[in-house]
């Protein structure tokens, strides 16, 4: 009888352990995905955006990135390690070129190769209109690494993968 009880307790403990692992890893994935939603929201720009909203969004974009983030975007001749302030500056200048801009992420695949590190593959679609009137519709595959610092996830590496080579 004692053995059966011990076995039941052991099974319950194991069950709780498995549940806790799944529950917490899922919630971490949700947090990581949320960062992409926020980047999408804050990078996007409606035609009616006021300077105040623009300033707020630019400031918020900075909060998503680590103190130093590696960017590798050969398409825009951007490669290297950038500080948060530099990224804010790039984002501000980039957004100014557009009268309307929408950034969306699709097919996010999140993995956790080690504790405190999330690796995310996704497809990014950038649509909008430049101030000179030209329409923009770009699709790129992204590989990102996010680091968990003090319970929050920050982009620490962002790379555009060349999917099609002419």
């Amino acid at each position: 009888m004692v053995k059966v009880r011990s076995l039941l307790i052991a099974l319950m403990v194991m069950g709780i352990g498995i549940w806790a692992f799944i529950h917490f890893s899922q919630s971490e994935e949700k947090k990581v995905r949320k960062q992409f939603d926020l980047l999408s929201e804050w990078a996007s720009k409606a035609q009616s955006e006021t300077p105040l909203v623009m300033a707020q969004k630019i400031k918020k974009i900075g909060t998503l990135f680590a103190e130093n983030c590696v960017l590798n975007v050969p398409l825009y001749s951007t490669s290297g390690s950038f500080t948060r302030e530099e990224i804010i500056s790039y984002a501000a200048r980039g957004r100014l070129l557009f009268s309307e801009l929408y950034l969306k992420f699709y097919d996010l695949t999140v993995t956790f190769p080690e504790e405190g590190t999330a690796k995310v593959s996704s497809t990014a679609r950038l649509t909008g209109k430049l101030n000179i009137g030209e329409n923009v519709d770009e699709i790129h595959e992204l590989e990102c690494v996010l680091k968990k610092i003090e319970k929050r996830w920050f982009f620490s590496h962002l790379e555009v993968v060349e999917v099609l080579k002419k």
Partner: protein, 81 residues
């Protein structure tokens, strides 16, 4: 995710001449193209474990169309007609 047509396999040569797609130097019959284009692309060989993909909608400047060589491992499925 992109939907493209495979036009060449590894080792084959791809070229555009006045909008005509040439595979290994021979013009490919493409009845699915509704609007002709005037693209020109110098010959290039498809690398090992890769395929060359192009979309059917080519009524735009070549620079604005996403096409090219891609590793086979990136293919995730086929359309159901």
């Amino acid at each position: 995710m992109l939907l493209k047509r495979i036009v060449a396999l590894e080792g084959e040569w791809v070229e555009f001449r006045d909008g005509k797609l040439l595979i290994n130097g021979k013009e490919l019959d493409e009845p699915y193209i509704r609007y002709p284009c005037n693209w020109n692309l110098s010959p290039r060989q498809v690398e090992v474990n890769c395929v060359y993909v192009i979309g059917d909608n080519r009524n735009m400047p070549m620079e604005n169309h996403y096409f090219g060589q891609t590793p086979i491992r990136r293919i995730v499925g086929v359309p159901l007609w």
